[in-house]
Symmetry: C2
Subunit: 557 residues, 2 copies
């Protein structure tokens, strides 16, 4: 079903005028060439049938949208930054009102509630019209989340020149909905820590390009910055420091902030690998803790993996997921499962003793452990998510409801689909933001990164989510995400390494595949400059000379 959307989007991309600059591109877009001014008295209203029942987060979104309209102050990306638009807009009509309404019979939930629904229940569709004669603009939808997406699109129509806020492409008519329900961004807060404010800013920027899933790889072997009720010793011993912990209150702040912006938070506690840090609080729980040489026992130092064959430890872990499930309202929680190191367990007396005692194979013990943690999540109403090794390297008993994150290579997608699992694209060869910037390993004069080269936005943008799949497997693809592993990232470079590159997957998984980079570039500039206006350090893709002159820096110009 998504494939059809792809074709529509592709033809749109070729046909769309350069006047407007929406990102991601709507599924259906009709633009005029008339200017329209925003009245100083411009306001956003809810239809009477909704006004009394609308949730507070929708009212807040309305206020935020109105604020951005007057504070973005984005000059249009043309020579003169809007000076040449004056003659058009100085006689244009004023827009005074944008009316939001829900279709009759729509249930009125908060944006947050809608955003946190299971993937196949999310409703992000909306219709937006902006007449050129000053009549009220309208957004209609069947959910508050749809209204929110429409507000985001509306906000991208406007530029500012010497105190006038105006659009140049009215009348606008948009019918829109995402090609894929899962459009994510992974942030690793374990290798290096990020203050809450960095995460909130990232959520704001995600929402600007309609990303809807914050995949929070919150802990790993290097540090455990998450305070989990009943398991607070993990952060107490395993965080980088007392000022580098996400408290339960911080989590609530992040989850709420995300929800109000149409974003679900999918937390991940990677198990049984990537858990050395648990040894800081529970030395007995971890095999091969800080064993040397680390390269034998782990893909990254410090080595250390949960002794999952021990039933006490397995039960403790399942209990941890039960607590985690209480903190995160999302329907999705990831139990990880990547990069399990065999020498670590082979050399671990306790693990081998457990296996001998139970007579279980390693595979079956792992299957039992995973079933136990997943059962804990399912009991809490959650759907488990795992990394690809859980289904490709082992023969585990996993529900086919499980979502599988493909990370090693996009070549592995087909094998996951053949096993009947639902897929989230996160492949290193397309969506790893950290590649190509040098390596983090010490004592390594070559210094290159393991996943060379740098993944350009063009590379990600040209990804085909359905490649190698049969048409009956298409519906297994839930969407995809860019990933920021932070061995060499921190607050200093968070924005520049993520933006605007992650916009490439945002459009790919919203608008569908088939777009071309030439048509996309001017719009990606536009949203990147808008990010900058909002205080996000999104980087330049070209000299400003090029950004102001679409096409003129194309190779064929």
């Amino acid at each position: 079903m998504f494939h059809r959307a792809v074709v529509v989007a592709a033809s749109l991309l070729a046909a769309v005028s350069r006047v407007g600059a929406l990102w991601p591109l709507p599924q259906s877009l009709s633009e005029g060439t008339s200017a329209l001014r925003l009245s100083p008295g411009f306001h956003i209203t809810l239809a009477p049938s909704v006004a009394f029942s609308a949730p507070l987060d929708l009212y807040e979104a309305i206020g935020r949208t109105q604020g951005y309209l007057f504070t973005d102050s984005l000059g249009r990306l043309v020579v003169g930054r809007g000076a040449s638009d004056v003659s058009a807009f100085e006689t244009a009509a004023y827009l005074t009102e944008l009316q939001l309404s829900l279709a009759p019979g729509s249930k009125v939930n908060s944006i947050t509630t809608e955003a946190q629904k299971p993937l196949d229940e999310r409703d992000e569709a909306y219709t937006l019209t902006v007449p050129s004669n000053g009549s009220a603009a309208t957004i209609t939808a069947t959910s508050t989340l749809g209204l929110y997406r429409g507000l985001t699109t509306f906000g991208q129509l406007w530029y500012e020149y010497e105190g006038t806020v105006y659009a140049v492409n009215t009348p606008v008519e948009i019918e829109d909905k995402p090609a894929y329900p899962y459009r994510g961004l992974l942030l690793d807060t374990s290798r290096n820590f990020f203050p809450v404010s960095d995460i909130l800013r990232t959520l704001d920027t995600m929402s600007l390009v309609k990303l809807n899933e914050f995949h929070w790889h919150v802990v790993d072997s290097q540090s455990f910055p998450l305070e989990i009720p009943g398991y607070t010793e993990l952060a107490a011993y395993g965080a980088y420091g007392p000022n580098m912990v996400y408290s339960a209150s911080d989590v609530q702040t992040i989850v709420s902030y995300a929800g109000a912006r149409g974003i679900d938070v999918m937390v991940e506690i990677d198990t049984p690998g990537h858990t050395a840090v648990i040894a800081d609080a529970h030395p007995d729980f971890v095999a091969c803790n800080q064993a040397r040489p680390w390269a034998t026992y782990a893909n990254e130092p410090p080595a250390g993996q949960l002794r999952f064959t021990n039933s006490t430890i397995a039960t403790w872990t399942a209990g941890l997921f039960t607590e985690l499930a209480k903190m995160f309202p999302s329907s999705l929680i990831s139990t990880g499962g990547d990069e399990i190191n065999m020498p670590c367990y082979d050399d671990d007396e306790e693990t081998q003793r457990d296996l001998n005692a139970t007579g279980l194979s390693f595979n079956d013990a792992l299957s039992g452990f995973t079933q136990q943690t997943h059962a804990a999540l399912e009991a809490a109403g959650k759907t488990p998510v795992v990394w690809e090794e859980m289904v490709l390297n082992y023969n585990l008993t996993l529900s086919n409801e499980t979502y599988v994150l493909v990370w090693i290579s996009s070549e592995d997608v087909k094998a996951v689909a053949d096993k009947g699992f639902r897929i989230i694209h996160a492949a290193s060869n397309y969506f790893y933001l950290d590649c190509g910037g040098g390596g983090w390993v010490g004592d390594y004069p070559a210094g290159n990164s393991w996943c060379e080269p740098f993944k350009t936005w063009q590379n990600s943008y040209a990804f085909d989510p359905l490649a190698n799949l049969t048409s009956d497997q298409y519906s297994l693809v839930a969407g995809g995400q860019h990933n920021l592993w932070t061995e060499q990232s921190g607050p200093s470079n968070l924005d520049p390494i993520v933006w605007p590159r992650a916009g490439a997957s945002a459009e790919l998984f919203w608008s569908g595949a088939g777009g071309n980079v030439t048509a996309a570039l001017p719009r990606l500039h536009d949203v990147s400059f808008r990010m900058q206006q909002r205080g996000v350090r999104s980087i330049a893709l070209q000299p400003l000379w090029c950004a102001l002159r679409p096409d003129e820096c194309d190779l064929n110009w």
Copy 2:
């Protein structure tokens, strides 16, 4: 002569303890293992013989150093960030005074004056002693610039833990001077513009690692953000906007700020290529202005090169350099000369008419033009600097005093030396900060950069400045620089793309070649974290787990 310094530094790098963390590493360093506390009443004094004659910028540097000592608040990069140092420092002596003195007979100039001297007259040597018993520390030198370098080193000795500022490696004895007199950083402010504040912050960071030459590639074909008296039309027409111009007053601010930090500003106006923007004010001065396809007429759009064969234009250009020379007190000014495009001139009627009229070959006309601009500089007491094509692609009459920037490849160094020119290393295969981050060309789905891959700090650090040269050519090597061309950079990513990577060339050209990345990494972390404490967005090289545990993330650990 530099080669001998190299060998000394290399043995030091192997032997140095992990206690101290200076960057760049001094030529000679003896460290103890005693702690020393900074007294709250700590002060820096000038020897009586200097105090009455010392320049204001030295007094300011003293104040700044004192300020950083108490505000850096850098926790030592060990587990616990200094908690384990308490037992050592709580019984340590207090340091109350640092005495600066100049050797008898030294001339007392300002730091600025010393920094702006010709390369072979700069005196940056200093001796620093920090006893462990609380006796006064001392810096002695034969110039204020040497004292300034010593102050910078002194400032890197100190850490903070819960209100105590302390060192862990006293007594310290250092004899230091740079291996090479030229240690630069190039910033291109034409492709994308940088506010003055970004440049000032960059100068501060350069001075922290003892870089001493700001190579300001201020204008190019894309924009002309420099206001030059008598030539103000260039910025008026060619800047990206009225708020994206460096006024004469801005230049003075930048030059003074740099000078006070021991940094010389070498401005570059690239000629005769890279000059399309001049056509905005003087359409007749430029051949092939914005000609298409641009790829035929330039390496980057917009195409356009000065009609240097026209004597009026040549005289105008020489006059521009005369004015430029008044703005920049440095002994060095670059006239550029890279990437001259032949089809542009071949197809230009005016140029061909001039050549026919004079009977000059292209080469000889170019030689005449270059002689004219260089003569203008020499008349103003300046030494010209050019890019490598000026000596490798043409047979021009150039003074052997000319400095030649090698950029295309380090393989070209030998050829430049064989022609007897002095060399500044700036090769793209070692020192280009913009490589490997994707390409700026539009309509280019592959999206990769022309100078793949990313140049890691390890790669730059391992560069041998004397490779392929004969020993009698060693003295031709003035030093080198990292370069930031800004097709894809701007204020958003200035700090993260430059720091701490440019520290690699800072140490290479101060301490000499032969260092190894394993020994360097903990110190590079240290200076990078200190940069962060000073508000510079220097990036993480490793997970914090590794940064706190030197060696433990080495491949062989």
